[in-house]
């Protein structure tokens, strides 16, 4: 084995991925070649230091959020896995077939809605950080909206360019759960930021749970990580509004936008 052949498989040898015969051949070469021994030692020194780096524990808040995510997703599935629950569910199904006058249980909001909302909140937090860092500069809204449309294929409505004291802070194309989305962040002076996400939503469900009557409208509303979130469908689009405003302020702003759209 020459130097080139030995160094070609140094990494496999370091990770004990070689068969015994080839490992012995590399060891034999190292024993007789000072240059390769030095090269091995240089690699090994860095490898040893990196191996010694600490694993940084996830913050408790994140642990809780991820566990909640897991529980929420498998909530119904794990209950159905229990024999007595499965039997009870079967009985309900039979009863429903036999007695069509029984009301069907409320439909569970699609997981995709959960995922979109979580993703929207994460993106809203990113936008807040960028605004805080002064990393976003808003120029002419028309030009900005055209650029967003060219990437996201979604037209941001003119109302999101701001009206009166409601000021546009940022607009960008983004992805929510791998779906092309247009985002626009706005706020009133001294009020918290609200971000609107708009994406094509023909195939997306409207959850029957968590609906709130706001005048003639009934959007889905919930709180996620301290932000109020409103989700609704309008024509073929889905709108997600993530806001630091309180519930009442959020509903007022929703209504203003909903009527203007």
């Amino acid at each position: 084995m020459d130097c080139h052949q030995a160094r070609e498989i140094f990494e496999e040898h370091r990770r004990r991925e070689l068969d015994p015969a080839r490992a012995a051949a590399v060891d034999a070469h190292l024993a007789e070649c000072p240059a390769c021994r030095a090269a091995w030692a240089r690699e090994e020194a860095v490898s040893t230091m990196v191996r010694g780096l600490p694993h940084l524990p996830a913050p408790p808040v994140l642990v809780r959020q991820v566990r909640a995510l897991c529980v929420r997703r498998r909530g119904i599935a794990s209950w159905l896995g229990r024999p007595w629950v499965a039997a009870a569910v079967a009985a309900v199904v039979v009863a429903a077939v036999l007695a069509p006058w029984l009301r069907r249980p409320a439909e569970r909001p699609g997981d995709i809605v959960d995922a979109l909302i979580q993703s929207g909140v994460a993106e809203h937090r990113r936008i807040l950080l960028e605004l805080e860092a002064g990393a976003i500069v808003v120029g002419d809204p028309d030009t900005l909206f055209a650029r967003v449309r060219s990437v996201s294929d979604v037209e941001l409505p003119k109302i999101l360019a701001g009206t009166g004291e409601l000021r546009l802070l940022a607009a960008k194309p983004t992805l929510l759960v791998s779906r092309k989305t247009a985002a626009a962040a706005l706020r009133y002076p001294t009020s918290p930021v609200t971000t609107y996400f708009i994406l094509p939503g023909k195939d997306l469900p409207m959850p029957s749970e968590g609906r709130v009557q706001i005048e003639q409208y009934k959007p889905h509303m919930r709180q996620v990580n301290g932000f109020n979130v409103v989700y609704w469908k309008q024509q073929d689009l889905v709108y997600i509004m993530v806001s630091g405003l309180d519930r009442e302020g959020c509903q007022k702003l929703y209504l203003k936008m909903r009527k203007a759209l």
Binding site: R7, E11, E12, R15, E17, A35, A38, A39, A41, R42, E43, A45, V46, S47, T48, M49, V50, R51, G52, L53, P54, H55, L56, P57, A58, P59, V61, L62, V63, Q65, V66, R67, L69, C70, R73, R74, I76, A77, S78, G81, D111, A115, Q118, S119, A122, R125, R126, L129, E130, L175, V177, S178
Partner: protein
């Protein structure tokens, strides 16, 4: 869409600290690392039915995390610039004395040197040396052949050595 099994979810959750550690060293910002890990788990639970039992769950999760990072974060993150000396090819024939002494190098120096590596190199080094993943798993996560994994690993270690040497001189 099928729900992930309890066993799958529990196993996935045992890798939370490891994933967070990797996410933090990729994004360099705790809020971004939080978001990245959450997004990773959302996708993992959503696509749990695509995971092949018997394969390495940790490697699969790393793959989702890195792909998510590339999709959402890399465009926004300032990428470190390669130095001319990083681009030199061939064996590193420097004197044996160039090897850093682990007793002298502090964790902070090492973290700083790592953070200055381009993401492709930093990821390979962390996955190989800190996480101890097999070469073929790293190739799968990074979507590159094993030969490329090895050459990136070699160059990443050389970049670290040179940065550590620069700190000593500085």
């Amino acid at each position: 869409m099928p729900e992930p099994s309890t066993e799958f979810s529990q196993q996935a959750l045992t890798h939370l600290d490891t994933l967070y550690s990797f996410a933090l060293r990729l994004t360099k910002r705790p809020p971004d690392a939080d978001d990245l890990v959450q997004e990773t788990y959302l996708r993992a639970f959503r696509f749990a039915h695509r995971f092949e039992p018997g394969t390495h769950l940790r490697a699969w999760l790393f793959q989702i995390l890195r792909n998510t990072f590339l999709t959402f974060y890399r465009r926004e993150t300032h990428q470190p610039v390669l130095l001319d000396k990083d681009l030199e090819d061939g064996f590193d024939e420097a004197a044996p004395g160039e090897a850093p002494d682990p007793a002298v190098v502090t964790t902070l120096d090492l973290e700083r040197a790592l953070s200055e590596l381009p993401e492709d190199f930093r990821s390979v080094l962390l996955l190989a040396d800190l996480e101890g993943l097999a070469l073929h798993e790293i190739g799968q996560i990074m979507d590159i052949p094993i030969g490329t994994v090895k050459s990136r690993l070699f160059r990443a270690r050389r970049m670290v050595r040179r940065r550590l040497a620069d700190y000593r001189i500085g």
